[in-house]
Amino acid sequence: MKSSIKLSMMGLFSLLTIISSCKNGPQNETKDLNQNESTVASEYTKGQAFIEDDESTPNVLQIALQSEDHTTLVAAVQAAQLENVLVNAGPLMVFAPTNDAFSALPEGTVEDLLKPENKDALANILKYHVTPGNYSKDFLKNFKKLGQANDQNVLVEVKGDDVFVGGAKIIGSVKAGNGIVHVVDKVILPPTQ
């Protein structure tokens, strides 16, 4: 299913445009208007996630950002403010549900999770999609379970050639600079503790 990981060239292009226009354009007029707001925002937008680097292999966050099939996931990562976690030296293995996987959740679930008051619950779910490790789909067949970043275990099952993690099937994989992204067809919900 390589087609599910198309690069959004439009997105990249507009990103570059914004960066360059911001660098060259006048900024002083608008800057003082929202001094407090921009200070808070800049605290949050510091860190490895926000370093410009077009030479290195894209990290797991950049891969998600560049995929048009993962816009919901990206929005969720941003709402949970987990960008800097995903660009760490890791290694990180991210199970990335597609937009379709999010759509398959009961009506209203995603909207609910994106609300600021549900930030912790959302972060918990997202971290359940992250393993400190870097294993290919084939290599994952050696595992019975994985320890996830939210401190819970997730089961690994092999059915024929397919690998399922927490019931979600791996439908594509992209190597990243700091790990690997496995595209999955379901959102993996952590067991209630």
Binding site: K23, A41, Y44, K46, G47, T71, A79, N84, N88
Partner: protein
């Protein structure tokens, strides 16, 4: 999809911030707060604290000032260092001897300063060599490495070199378990055959001389980090373990199967008593003990042939395991000695054990099975609390002495401040980036000096002007005197600091040595006055007894040296003035230059291969006439009859 519009707005906003955030940052930088004042040490003023940062793969120890972040010195420990000639001079080559021969490098990890009654006394600082297991002792008056002892039966000497609260012992635990004694055997028979050694090296209270008193042979786990008990828990030592699965391959998978590993609690006083009463088994060994004598300015190597080993099962009540989740890394004990903290590096939470509960659980025999005969205490019965931090990847915790703890989180790149006893998170600040360890001066003692915390990061990326693919690591200083941490400075560090130790300047600065007294120089080749300078031939060895003073060598013209000779320049610096070293370098020499401190003697070897008249010179800009400080050696053919002759000013 309904949320698409929302998404586009969110992403657009995020992108704007990405591109514009940095300009905002600079307008709200250090100068707009009091951060600049807090780190500014005016010209001529001095810092409040010394900070000793390990150099990691540099093999050395670097000395910085806090809060300025200025580097004062790199102290050579396990690596040859051409700046001073350490490991190149004849006097210091023995410092790097091991049972594997001359090993000119190591991976220096965890410095720890000597203590008396649980408080920093500033006599020595110890540091471990991780790769070829060694422990070094550095004198904090001369800031020179004085002693290195190799640790036998160890591999990846990582849970080291932490000291007990009266510097009774410096403790060195193995990271990798190995066959003990080493032997030829299949790797896949690791399980239950390999052992992990925990070495207790006694420290002579007067001279600091180290002696491997006993070695506890533990199950074949990986012993990661350790800390001494203090106060009420003095007499115990705590080690984090991982790979309790005893995997011998692909540990990143196979060593993460157990939900819990252990903190090993070792009652070393009990074992000491056992050993003092004749307990333990002597085992043949071969390890180097290198000692530098300040009087002769010379190091010697002794090969030790025996080590006293202790089977933990022979000393009932001496060793217990405390279950601790998720491959814990840092093993930290709070200033009161009550709390033992396991930093589960693949976890979000910190596990805090209680010393009192541990003692009660031992007395009440609240066991949850055993591992190789060592009782495992019930998790619930030793647990004091858990810190639900919300961070990811806790590595190391230090303390401010005011009831607060500070933990680094590698994966989420932050320092989290939390309260001992209530376990509530009080504050968190990002680090830049991927922080490993942190340091509060006196953090491993009963009396921390909780004014600053230094975070040592593994990743630098965009923090400084780029210097190609390889960059120095970054460190950040936070002011922790208030409720909230305040980032006040950011500075590059040398090598890879894995750990650090800090101490108030007022303890060290007054006793820092300024010169070596020439009249106390006992080097066998020293010359006390220039009139004693001479050249002596012994077969094909030529010994040049040479002195230096601003700005000449005595002698500076030497004839009668022949191709095939081995020429020893024994150079005594006759200066008795603070900070006036002289250097020495000879053209074509297959070694480094030397830097000779006032009153010191050092020796450099040269084996001339070509006939001619060859110059040497002083490498240290010692005076206005430094450029004149030079000399010549005439090298004649191997079969020539030119007599030895030396002179100055003829």
């Amino acid at each position: 999809m309904k949320i698409n519009n929302h998404l586009i707005v969110t992403m657009g906003a995020a992108l704007m911030l990405v591109s514009c955030g940095q300009q905002n940052q600079s307008s709200n930088g250090a100068l707009s707060s009091s951060a600049a004042e807090k780190v500014y040490v005016a010209p001529g003023e001095q810092d409040e604290f010394y900070a000793f940062l390990s150099g990691g793969y540099s093999g050395n120890l670097t000395v910085y000032g806090l809060p300025s972040g200025r580097m004062f010195k790199e102290i050579p420990v396990f690596s040859q260092f051409p700046t001073s000639g350490y490991g190149y001079s004849e006097e210091t080559k023995p410092m790097l001897n091991t049972s594997h021969g001359f090993v000119p490098w190591d991976d220096a990890h965890h410095p720890d300063i000597s203590q008396t009654n649980g408080e920093l006394d500033g006599r020595w600082i110890f540091i471990n060599g991780n790769n070829t297991p060694r422990i070094a002792r550095i004198n904090l008056s001369t800031f020179e490495t004085e002693e290195i002892i190799e640790v036998p039966n160890s591999a990846g000497n990582h849970s080291s070199s932490f000291i007990t609260e009266n510097t009774e012992y410096v403790v060195a635990g193995t990271r990798f378990s190995v066959p003990i004694p080493q032997r030829d055997m299949p790797i896949n028979e690791y399980k239950s055959n390999f052992k992990g050694s925990l070495s207790f090296i006694s420290v002579d209270p007067e001279h600091g001389h180290m002696d491997l008193k006993f070695q506890l042979l533990m199950p074949g786990f990986n012993y990661d980090l350790s800390h001494p008990g203090r106060g009420k828990s003095h007499g115990w030592f705590f080690f984090t373990t991982y790979n309790t699965e005893e995997a011998h391959t692909l540990q990143e998978v196979n060593a993460s199967q157990n939900d819990k590993d252990f903190i090993a609690a070792v009652n070393w006083k009990k074992i000491e008593e056992y050993v003092n009463n004749g307990g333990g088994t002597k085992m043949p060994a071969n390890y180097a003990h290198n000692l530098y004598d300040e009087g002769t300015h010379t190091a010697t190597t002794t090969m030790n042939k025996e080590v006293l080993t202790v089977d933990p099962l022979k000393v009932p009540g001496a060793v217990y395991f405390l279950p601790t989740p998720k491959s814990p890394h840092g093993c930290d004990v709070d200033p009161t000695g009550q709390y033992i903290i396991g930093n589960g590096k693949l976890s979000a939470d910190l596990t805090v054990h209680s010393f009192d509960k541990m003692i009660a659980a031992i007395e009440g025999e609240k066991f949850d099975g055993e591992a190789y005969g060592i009782p495992i205490l019930k998790f619930e019965d030793v647990l004091a609390g858990q810190v639900k931090s919300g961070g990811l990847g806790p590595l190391h915790t230090e303390f401010d002495g005011n009831g607060n703890a500070y933990t680094t989180f590698f994966i989420s790149s932050e320092v989290v401040k939390w309260k001992l006893g209530t376990w509530e998170v009080i504050d968190r600040k990002p680090t830049y980036y991927s922080v490993g360890h942190l340091m509060i001066p006196g953090g491993n003692s009963r009396k921390p000096f909780g004014k600053y915390v230094v975070a040592m990061n593994k990743i630098t990326k965009d923090r400084y002007l780029p210097t190609g693919p390889e960059m120095e690591h970054s460190a950040q200083i936070y002011d922790i005197s208030g409720d909230k941490m305040e980032l006040i400075y950011d500075f590059p560090t040398h090598g890879e600091p894995h750990y650090a130790a800090g101490i108030p300047a007022e303890i060290l600065a007054p006793k820092s040595q300024k010169i070596y007294r020439l009249d106390e120089n006992k080097h066998p080749y020293a010359v006390k006055t220039p009139t004693d300078a001479k050249v002596v031939r012994d077969g094909n060895e030529v010994h040049i007894y040479m002195s230096t003073i601003r700005s000449h060598f005595t002698p500076d013209n030497i004839e009668g040296v022949k191709v095939g000779d081995k020429v020893y320049f024994h150079i005594t610096n006759h200066e008795q003035d603070f900070d006036v070293p002289h250097g020495f370098a000879m053209i074509g020499q297959n070694t480094s230059e030397l830097l000779v401190m006032p009153g010191q003697t050092k020796t450099s070897v040269w084996e001339p291969k070509q006939v001619g008249v060859w110059p040497f010179y002083c490498t240290d800009f010692c005076s206005a006439l430094h450029q004149e400080m030079q000399g010549y050696v005439r090298v004649s053919p191997a079969n020539s009859n030119i007599a030895l002759k030396w002179s100055l000013g003829e």
